[in-house]
Symmetry: C2
Subunit: 205 residues, 2 copies
């Protein structure tokens, strides 16, 4: 679904008003029937033979993904990754509102970065009591990740967007965890390269 949304945005940007399931499939590397299957799971979007209205489809997908719900997020740990997200990542485009950041570094506390105030991590609890949020963006150092995550699960935070490369909870916990595991991604890349190399060597023989 996120990839569909991204594609719709680029189609809208390039002035397309209608798109067929085969065009969508071609762009994303899916079969047209996969595309139709995905969309039909979420109700009727298109009409056989006429393709989909790009804008209507975009709205439907955005609705399914909840980008119209205005989820509130706080960011914990204003290091490089934290700053990258605060500075270069457009939360609002994806239906999220980054309302506050927290850190332990006294040189950062009390300052702002790209319009987001940074407070002392010690004030997190009292902040969350008066300003409930849906998501905590976890960009703290590895060695405190589990501890901070456990604490968050007692503060009414519904979900954690985890950038720490640490496995946070056993399955079955109440808090939703979405991991950005850099290492998994790099390992996949390495796997694809080695597969490609093996193929090339086979062909040489």
């Amino acid at each position: 679904m996120p990839r569909y949304l991204r594609l719709m945005d680029s189609l809208i940007a390039s002035g397309h008003s209608r798109v067929s399931s085969s065009e969508i499939g071609e762009k994303l590397g899916f079969t047209p029937s996969q595309v139709r299957q995905d969309f039909s799971n979420f109700g009727e979007f298109g009409q056989q033979g006429y393709g989909y209205n790009v804008k209507a489809l975009r709205e439907q997908i955005a609705g399914i993904l909840g980008t119209d719900r205005g989820y509130k997020a706080v960011l914990l740990g204003v290091g490089h990754i934290g700053r990258a997200l605060m500075g270069n990542f457009c939360f609002s485009e994806w239906g999220f509102n980054l309302v506050h950041a927290f850190d332990v570094d006294s040189t950062k506390i009390g300052t702002e970065y790209r319009g987001v105030a940074i407070s002392d991590m010690k004030e997190l609890d009292s902040y969350l009591q008066s300003n409930p949020v849906d998501v905590a963006v976890l960009t703290v150092p590895k060695d405190v990740a589990v501890e901070v995550a456990r604490h968050l699960s007692t503060c009414g935070v519904r979900a954690i967007w985890n950038f720490t490369n640490v496995e946070l909870f056993e399955p079955g916990t109440d808090v939703i965890v979405e991991n950005m595991h850099f290492s998994d991604s790099l390992l996949s890349l390495g796997y694809f390269i080695s597969e490609r190399q093996d193929e090339e060597e086979k062909q040489k023989k």
Copy 2:
């Protein structure tokens, strides 16, 4: 596979020497038969009833993932994400060697960050000619992402690790692209939250 590797590392760190497919499945939220299936696809690792030898399994998985191949990587764009990767991400742990970084900012060119030299982006071509690399880590700004990626595909780079949130190539291109799409991950998170909310509302009724 990357998740299996991560689990093996944490088992080794906590002093485990053997592990069963049901224990692995429990930790990662898979069924034991899924685990056995995954491993059997890559040859025989374990013995029915005795579980797997953790260290041997770790080596096998690492080998499959190519972490022993010592891939060379350069990083393009020493912004926040670039620095986060250079400073906090251990490439060598995953079988990669980050050998050089490039940027266009004259205040960064000629300096080092965490032991990695930063050169002028203009020198990339001549560098790659004398120092072929496998992977380019793409952490340049969005608006030059496609241009830089196209250029890389003419320089003998086999793979791009893409942090730009831009869709780089049409399917079928020769260069391997592994995307770290932050927005996809956040959208998935939003989707899980909205699903959970819908469930809770249903239960209330």
